[in-house]
């Protein structure tokens, strides 16, 4: 995953939000994933219209974290989602 990549959620997954947690089920692997508040927001922002860098910028504004942390977390989190086919680039 690179900062210039544009991730988009995989709509084949079953998704449900409960309080501040998003649950995503991958039908192919039967795996259930859950994201915390920050992960939830990154998931929402991965709609195919923003680069990873832009998602990280939004996290900086909304969660008052520094840019380096946000970029590192976004790359790691979205990269992991990509490896599990929960997002695609």
């Amino acid at each position: 995953m690179k900062l210039t990549d544009t991730p988009v959620r995989n709509d084949d997954n079953a998704v449900r939000k409960i309080e501040d947690t998003v649950f995503v089920m991958n039908p192919d692997t039967s795996e259930l994933h859950s994201f915390n508040e920050v992960g939830c927001r990154m998931w929402e922002l991965a709609d195919g219209s923003r680069t990873v860098a832009a998602i990280a910028e939004a996290i900086v504004e909304e969660f008052a974290v520094d840019a380096q942390t946000a970029q590192t977390d976004a790359l790691e989190f979205l990269g992991e989602l990509n490896s599990k086919d929960l997002v695609r680039v």
Partner: protein, 283 residues
Amino acid sequence: MNHPVEPRCFRVGALVAEVRGLSFPLEAGSGWLPQFATNVDAPADFSVDVSCGDLPGSALRSSGVRAVRVDRSQRTIWLDMNELVARLRLADRHVDARLGGSWVYSLETLLKNAAQIFGLELRKALYLHASSVDRAGLAYVFLGRSEAGKSTAALISREAGLARVLREEMTAVGDLSRAEPVRVFTLPSVEEHGLSAGPAAVPLRGLYWLQQDSVDSVNRISVPEQVRRLAMATSICVRDEMLMIPALELAEQLVRRVPVRVLRFRKSAEFWKAIDEDLVSDA
């Protein structure tokens, strides 16, 4: 060959199935299904048309899913199992099935898988990989990862004379579509240690996620974490979005009515003291 015979109704967990086309006597021979027969006038949640003996079958063949096909646009599921093939039409609440031989076990397998699917479709019931016990007329369900001690907790409770075992491996919980108290239902089958409580519907008192530990304690967790653990324990024979979304919905509904607690226990019946203390503090 399909013989026209009178329909039979069976309670399968929280649901009732109306079955037509049985050409063999259920009462003769083994199998627990006849115990779960219910009044033919009972409102059925789903209907089943079976033809028997159209598949090559063997009484030695074990149950197992060979293939699954899902058509979301038609809301139809095809199950190809060792002992049966079935087409489930969710919108019609109907199943067409061919069973391998005059074999009660095939029918039990068909009904349990169908009840799982329709339980979710109707937003009525969850089928959990869990043990359950009846203690003084109230049901307690034990969830957890493999080898967490689900069967152990049930069996040591029975051996201590504190509870009777309802189910060891698969527990049905419902009716989540109604406001009445949630109940644990038994299913027609014999389990690992030869235990089966027969037909029962017991009010649910507690859901416990088990963790073996050196102390006995009951701990509270957040609603999302409760849902996550319940979803992990939910049995869905067909892993498709059509069923997985209702599974999450029902899991959330259930935990808001009966919360999931984490039970750390030492593999002795002493854990009931921790449960009782927690329930008293919750009152």
